[in-house]
């Protein structure tokens, strides 16, 4: 690949800055003045950055959609001054993509100055990544380095996990946005040579009955988004034959303008097939779907606030999903892996080729040359910069020694996948891009991967600690039934049934338990025919607590994810963090984000559970304001023998029920307060000793003392026991006076408190003593028993019946509340 360096290197004087405003957008056609069309046989512009003042710099950033700040534009100008020339559009776009919040995580890696006088250099390293460093867990195979976090499994296999956000695209085009979210995260898993075996989806919407008249211009109705997003996730996962096994759906007003879509994928990787040995001279192969104009500027779009005009302006930022293309691509990649032909792989995600090529070259201390005219296109008229940054889906970037290229291309052909060699790795630490033989970009990698550090100001606000005073409701039966049909508690069955959660035949514990579709706490996969070991997948998300304290929201999310994992028998937890926040350039948003990040460090260490991967989505703001600060914690545990796994449904009438863990007066952000229209309250905290509750219950499971386990979460003890009852069709008798409390409190508060670190356990009737001995020293008490009866009966402190509801009535209420229509 030889091309001539041509004349664009220095052409001062041919252009002039124009005083009038240019309204034409960059991609709408040739622009004038600041931009000079180069005398090449295709459309490419030189940008007069060297003579641009601050106003012009910002105009360039906005016109081109590069999305760079003034400070960054100045850094670009300085760089090109040292190069003695102006950049091309391809170069400026490359920088814009690489330096975007989405690709570079400037906020997490930048400097934070707090209102209480602290300076934190690199929030990510200081908090998130230091957990794994301090815990030094030998089972962490690769963390925060590659496209996905990787931890050991059994028999030479590792588990790869990644969770992504796809909020902005889903707000514009819910079906395509969500589907490509799944498609993208699956490619992250392929990008570490792992075979994708399960998907995760966690979704947050505005209330489904939101008043249409209150919707601002450009904001789509929550029900439209809900139906579109669910259909998109089902479409991609089902078509690829990857089961969707774990997830959550959360409703809150704060998501009306900012829908939240988390997409996760789990992969299985033979550890000896993790090829990472790219050297200079190796070939670059681009494989999969063709490159098109879909997905231009996705990352810069994702790193900006949503506005009224987003629909029109950013539609092209949303990619088009084609799961069958990715299915074929997956087959070919696994074959290439198994034959050991390649030296490296990565997905083409945000930033497209520009980021993939640059990042790979930078990571392996090489340079790279790419010839864009070799790239197969959907539209032959695409401009070089569009080809270079397009985020079209279903494409992978593969590196291989030149002698293996032929065989690799053969495999792709066998699988009906298009693939071409588009470039080489070089030895000069520069990224050089050609089009039709002309050089169109030539950037130093050390410049490209050292953007100026940003400084954010964090305002730490004092958290309010007060509780509401209100009368105890008379009819707690009614309250319980209302809670069971509350949007955040009602059964998700209608949604989960549209996701194939059985394909691959690995799902040992399913999201829906048994014939009555109980809400299992976590899913268990048994991926290897030769081993009984299982992968345990769960999540935790507590957005309503964040309205009171983002610190305790983060802490509670970690506790919930881990205790959900424990409920089915999961242990040795690895965590993933996914932040969805507002604009970090606003000090209050940054302050609440910092608090949540601090909690991640403290609580993850408390549980001895390292973070292995994560992703942040910032700038989730709309005309309705910032998104409800949201942190999704995904926990990946293992279970040595899936035959020991437990489900949450009651098993045998007569068996005693125990609660482990202390109930506190913690109802801030609870579903009970929400139902009563109360604000404030004390949010659930996480205390020392949380870990030993998990460890002891796991021990009891391994000893075979336990038949069922479920955690009180949204709706507290009352809802947790109701769920166990509904899932089995069996009744229960509970004595509230037996529940260990931190302080005396009213009956309704004890029933609906959402304190963390509690588990409700069905113990084998003949193992009570053994169980109690094992739990000695922990707050643990026998609170009742399972009955053959048809109702759930709760007696108050005085022994009188407080709640008596028919199991079938609860079941119907809970099941029918959420509809897809």
């Amino acid at each position: 690949m030889i091309a001539l360096r041509t004349s664009w290197t220095r052409c001062v004087g041919d252009y002039w800055l124009t005083p009038q405003k240019i309204s034409t957008k960059w991609r709408c056609g040739p622009l004038i003045n600041i931009y000079r069309k180069l005398n090449f046989p295709f459309e490419i512009y030189e940008i007069n950055i060297l003579e641009a003042d601050d106003i012009a710099l910002m105009k360039i950033s906005s016109d081109t959609g590069a999305g760079l700040s003034l400070e960054e534009m100045r850094a670009v100008k300085t760089y090109f001054k040292s190069e003695g020339r102006n950049p091309t559009d391809v170069e400026l776009q490359t920088i814009g993509q690489t330096w975007s919040e989405h690709c570079f995580h400037k906020t997490f890696k930048g400097i934070v100055k707090t209102s209480d006088g602290r300076v934190i250099d690199n929030m990510f390293k200081t908090y998130i990544a230091s957990v794994v460093k301090e815990l030094n867990s030998e089972w962490c195979f690769s963390v925060f380095e590659d496209n996905a976090g990787i931890v050991d499994f059994v028999e030479g296999y590792a588990i790869a996990v990644k969770v992504e956000t796809h909020n902005h695209p889903s707000a514009i085009e819910p079906f395509g946005g969500a589907a490509t979210g799944i498609g993208g995260v699956i490619r992250d898993i392929l990008g570490v040579w792992a075979e994708p075996i399960a998907n995760i989806d966690v979704l947050c919407f505005g209330p489904l009955d939101y008043d249409y008249l209150k919707l601002p211009q450009g904001v789509k109705h929550p029900r439209y988004l809900f139906k579109g997003v669910v259909a998109g996730i089902a479409h991609y996962g089902n078509n690829m034959g990857i089961p969707t096994i774990c997830g959550a759906i959360y409703f809150d007003e704060g998501y009306v303008g900012n829908v939240v879509v988390y997409c996760g994928c789990i992969g299985l990787l033979p550890k000896d097939k993790y090829f990472r040995k790219i050297k200079q001279g190796h070939s670059i192969i681009l494989a999969g779907g063709r490159t098109g104009r879909d997905g231009i500027h996705g990352v810069t779009f994702a790193s900006a606030e949503l506005t009224e005009e987003s629909e029109e302006k950013s539609r092209s930022a949303v990619q088009i999903p084609n799961p069958i293309e990715e299915e074929k691509l997956k087959r070919a990649i696994i074959r290439i892996r198994d034959e050991g032909l390649a030296s490296g792989i990565t997905d083409l995600g945000g930033g497209g080729l520009s980021c993939a090529a640059g990042e790979m070259a930078n990571k392996y201390n090489c340079g790279a040359v790419v010839e864009l005219s070799k790239v197969l296109l959907k539209d032959p008229d695409m401009k070089p910069w569009e080809i270079w940054i397009s985020e079209s889906q279903e494409r992978m970037f593969i590196a291989s020694p030149p002698e293996n290229v032929k065989r690799i291309l053969e495999i792709f052909e066998d699988e009906d996948v298009e693939a071409v060699e588009i470039g080489r790795f070089t030895d000069d630490s520069r990224l050089r891009v050609f089009y039709k033989g002309y050089m169109v970009a030539d950037l130093s990698l050390s410049f490209l991967f050292n953007p100026p550090k940003v400084t954010r100001i964090a305002k730490i606000e004092k958290e309010l600690e007060y509780d509401s005073k209100f009368e105890k409701p008379k009819d707690l039966n009614d309250i319980l039934l209302k809670l069971l049909r509350a949007p955040n508690i009602a059964s998700r069955e209608v949604v989960i049934r549209t996701y194939d959660h059985e394909v691959k035949g690995m799902t040992a514990i399913k999201p829906l338990q048994g014939w009555r579709a109980g809400p299992n706490d976590a899913a268990v996969l048994k991926p290897l025919p030769s081993s009984w070991a299982g992968i345990v997948v769960s999540c935790g998300i507590k957005p309503s607590y964040g309205k009171i304290s983002t610190y305790w929201m983060a802490a509670s999310s970690i506790d919930e994810a881990i205790r959900n994992n424990v409920c089915v028998g999961g242990r040795r937890w690895a965590l993933l963090d996914n932040f969805t926040w507002g604009n970090p350039e606003k000090a209050d948003r940054m302050g609440s984000l910092l608090r949540a990040v601090e909690a991640c460090y403290h609580i993850a260490k408390l549980f001895g559970a390292p973070f292995i991967s994560g992703k942040d989505s910032l700038y989730n703001e709309s005309p309705l304001g910032p998104v409800t600060p949201t942190l999704l914690i995904t926990a990946i545990g293992i279970i040595p023998d899936v035959r020991k796994a437990l489900t949450m449904d009651f098993k045998n009438p007569g068996n005693p029920l125990y609660i482990v863990g202390l109930t506190r007066r913690e109802l801030g952000g609870s579903e009970y307060y929400k139902l009563l229209g109360l604000s404030g309250g004390l949010v659930p905290k996480v205390y020392e000793g949380a870990r030993s509750i998990c460890d002891k219950v796991i021990k009891a499971m391994d000893l075979g003392l336990i038949r069922a386990c479920h955690d009180p979460s949204d709706g507290g003890i009352a809802v947790a026991i109701a769920e166990m009852s509904m899932a089995s069709g069996l009744g229960a008798e509970i004595e509230l006076s037996k529940v260990p409390l931190s302080e005396p409190m009213r009956e309704d508060l004890a029933l609906f408190s959402e304190s963390n670190s509690r588990l409700i356990v069905e113990v084998r009737a003949d193992k009570e003593e053994e169980f109690e001995q094992l739990m000695a020293g922990l707050p643990c008490s026998r609170i009742g028993r399972i009955t053959r009866g048809s109702s759930l009966v709760v007696r108050g402190y005085d022994g009188k019946v407080l709640i008596d509801v028919s199991v079938d009535e609860m079941w119907r209420t809970w099941r029918e509340a959420l509809t897809l229509r």
Partner: protein, 265 residues
């Protein structure tokens, strides 16, 4: 006894081949997952096998109609091979998308040999949704020669996972299917009584609750439910209720029976 050699055929979008292979291998079958391109390029010969499984998935994205594109490709590009295979009495099994493919290829029900057009349809579920759920299936001893190990009237618990599985046919065709005794599986209630179209016992609105049929010769069978997902005991939906986990699930007998048939060829 004949060695059972299974060809699990796939194209882009096929995705239940792995678990089907696991099930067959557990029964000692030599099972190969073969891309159709390998057969078309004659790198692999279909005649070397005695069981052809068309597994579940979304072949070619199920564009046009589920199974339509692959069905046509099979009928036109592999017609000779397939006809020979079937005429020799070898076993052909289509599961889910495989059933849709056999119907679209005109192989099932094949009332008068290979048909040039689909004689029946597997239409969009009456719920208008993809349905991933466990159902009860009633086995009917029929013309089907592959499943004779299963007792007539036996109820099996097996999951479905499809958006297009509603069995639809004209009155004449339906009458003929019943008359020729081609109905192999119907959706039923847990006690084995007919679902009579009631959701979710009949998950898709199939006519006569039909879940699976066979060819007139009885060696080609297609079914919407996925026995390979109910092969082992730990795959069943309620196995945690049992004190001792059963080694196998309800789907195993289907594969066992097919293997027995081939061994007896």
């Amino acid at each position: 006894m004949l060695d059972v050699k299974a060809c699990i055929i796939r194209v882009g979008g096929t995705n239940c081949d792995f678990e089907t292979k696991v099930a067959l291998e557990d029964l000692g079958v030599k099972a190969d997952i073969i891309h159709m391109n390998q057969l078309l390029k004659k790198r692999v010969n279909l005649e070397d096998y005695n069981l052809l499984v068309i597994p579940g998935g979304f072949s070619y994205g199920d564009y046009v109609r589920a199974g339509a594109i692959w069905g046509k490709k099979l009928a036109f590009k592999m017609r000779r091979d397939l006809e020979n295979f079937v005429n020799e009495g070898k076993a052909v099994v289509g599961i889910c998308n495989g059933f849709q493919v056999l119907v679209e290829a005109g192989i099932l029900p094949g009332l008068s040999g290979l048909s040039n057009h689909p004689e029946v349809a597997l239409a969009t579920n009456s719920s208008a949704k993809y349905e991933c759920r466990w159902v009860h299936l009633r086995y009917h001893s029929s013309r089907c020669r592959l499943l004779s190990k299963i007792a007539d009237g036996k109820v099996l618990r097996i999951p479905v996972g499809h958006g297009e599985g509603r069995f639809v046919a004209s009155k004449e065709v339906l009458d003929k299917i019943v008359e020729l005794n081609l109905v192999v599986f119907t959706y039923c209630r847990p006690d084995g009584s007919p679902a009579n179209g009631e959701y979710p016992y009949n998950p898709n609105g199939s006519m006569l609750d039909i879940a699976g049929i066979c060819s007139g010769e009885g060696n080609v069978v297609g079914m919407m439910p996925h026995p390979e997902r109910a092969y082992f005991g730990w795959q069943m939906p309620d196995w945690t209720l049992q004190d001792e986990l059963a080694a196998y699930g309800d789907g195993r007998i289907i594969f066992e029976s097919i293997v027995d048939y081939i061994k007896g060829l």
